[in-house]
């Protein structure tokens, strides 16, 4: 009998176990020390020594951990989709200017609020207003890159076009920043540092729903994504509707990246690096295995970065954006130098 593709069941079991452990560690850490018993009690609504612990865990730490999981998975999946679609290992939400698009949307909303008038401005500063602006921004930039991609076949040129869109948007943001007040600027800066906290349960629900919608667009294109590994012409010859697949990738990535960036700020590195890390662990290009693997790894790495950023037992919290790059970039460089070529 013919043997099917290598089974990665064990690796998945280990990954999920690691995810659960890191999840607990993440919730246990913070500026206030809470013993394990207190954590478990708060999580499952049991007995706790101090009621404040319950409040901290349920209203602050748990939402933050859930946000970390969604942000990590969503960005990593976006990165994987971009890398397959553009058949380029450098592709990712950041390189293609999608994150910059989200930043532009938010910048226009925060920094340009004075031009918009008071009514809009008061709505704008809710997290939902930011989410809408960021999604719109990332969708617009990604569409522009895609339109360019139809005209330009060379993937290298497409990446350069993406980078150019990125610098265009940063230029616009600089100009907006130049004419803004200090308080607006500070508000924008804080958003751009990235933050996983500060989300209410209502916002987490919105984030989760958008995440699930994005993921459902991805699940239906797993099969065509696999045939795209052979190039567009082969994919077409196997009956794949390339245009539809491309549009689905466009919708899924802009939903995922846009909404995540809106709620948590532009988080660098994850979208580009996690797919590569995952491909080192799972030496496969099969999206049926890669997609869940990338989602779980992304969640784990985001939770680790968040745990580090809280500087355990201290009152300070470092910007999450700094941590992802600070710890992530050297790991990728080390892996590339040590291990082997990464196939995308």
């Amino acid at each position: 009998m013919i043997t099917t593709a290598k089974s990665y069941k064990n690796t998945f079991v280990i990954l999920i176990a690691v995810l659960l452990i890191i999840f607990f560690i993440n919730i246990s850490l913070g500026s206030v020390y809470i013993p394990l018993k207190g954590i478990i009690g708060s999580l499952f609504n049991g007995e706790v020594e101090k009621e404040s612990w319950r409040a901290i865990v349920q209203n602050y730490r748990l939402p933050k951990a859930i946000t970390a999981i969604i942000v990590g998975s969503g960005l990593s999946i976006s990165g994987l989709l971009m890398q397959t679609l553009f058949r380029n290992p450098l592709a990712g939400p950041f390189v293609l200017g999608i994150s910059s698009g989200a930043s532009l949307g938010v910048a226009i909303l925060i920094l340009g609020a004075s031009f918009l008038g008071a009514n809009i401005a008061s709505y704008a500063f809710t997290n939902f207003g930011l989410a809408f602006a960021a999604s719109l921004g990332s969708f617009l930039v990604l569409s522009a890159v895609m339109i360019a991609a139809i005209k330009v076949r060379n993937t290298m040129s497409i990446l350069i076009i993406g980078l150019m869109f990125g610098s265009l948007t940063s230029a616009v943001i600089s100009i907006l920043a130049y004419f803004s007040s200090a308080s607006q600027l500070q508000q924008y800066m804080f958003w751009s540092f990235g933050s996983l906290g500060n989300l209410s349960w209502k916002e987490i629900t919105a984030l989760t729903i958008t995440f699930l919608i994005g993921i459902s667009f991805v699940i239906v294109i797993i099969k065509p994504l696999n045939s795209l590994l052979l190039g567009e012409n082969y994919a077409k010859s196997m009956g794949v509707n390339v245009k539809r697949t491309r549009n689905f990738v466009l919708i899924a990535t802009s939903l995922l990246t846009g909404v995540i960036t809106a709620f948590s700020g532009p988080i660098a590195f994850i979208g580009l690096a996690v797919p590569h890390l995952t491909k080192l662990l799972f030496t496969t290009s099969n999206h049926k295995i890669l997609l869940p693997a990338v989602a779980i790894s992304g969640a784990i790495i985001m939770l680790i970065c968040d745990s580090i950023s809280q500087l355990p037992n201290s009152e300070y919290t470092l910007p999450i954006n700094a941590i992802t790059s600070l710890f992530g970039a050297p790991i990728i460089i080390w892996l590339l130098v040590r291990k082997r070529k990464i196939y995308y």
Binding site: K6, G231, K279, Y343
Partner: protein
Amino acid sequence: MSSTEKYIIKTSNLSIGYSSKKETTTIASNLNIRLKAGNMVGLLGKNGIGKSTLLRTLTKVQPALSGEVFINNKNLDSLTNNDLARTLSLVLTERLPDSSLTVFELVALGRQPFTNWIGYLTNDDMEIIQLAFEKTNTKHLMNSKCYELSDGQLQKVLIARALAQNTPIIVLDEPTAHLDLHHTVNTFSLLKNLASEFNKTIIISTHETNLTLQLADELWLMTPDKFISGKTDALIENNELELLFNSKLISFNKELKQFTISHS
């Protein structure tokens, strides 16, 4: 069927080429191809004469300038992508993008037009894949990664993928371009077997003229002036091959069924 003759590929007054907003470049026109199932066809012609354009038009990769293509008596334009994928499979010259697909996964992708939304392989699918491996003699490569293969192995595996697609027509664009004589002959005889044993229609564009003349049932010759199609023997007999290169340096030797280089 009203007509007595059933053609697997038929074109009527087909014109091929490229058109943009500014201008239309016609590469060949008035192509009236009639091809019956189970034949191996060699598409011969000089570099740049339009062999790939013809294949791309016949396989719906690019639109025809005018005229019609019928596959199994159905107009090519009326076939959906998936219908076409169940009728016609491709082996292309282009390099595969880097990936860590295994040989098994690559060949199994050939089943995509038949599998469900997630690409689940049924027992029937597995049997067809198995057969594709056996026919191409590539079973031992199954668990290798595609990037580990030599050019010759990769070409066989790509043919296995087309076989797994289990289509009545297989179109190959210069399948032996990177291969040595040994692998070239192997590939050609494999294709010849597939045509005769499984009644597959196989269309190969190639520069291996001598080999093609020995093995192909039919020839499609693209010359600067006209398109000639017919049985290999008949074309040799009628001196049509002399037109292929239209050069003083190369002449066709009828007895040897070979092109020879003439010395001045």
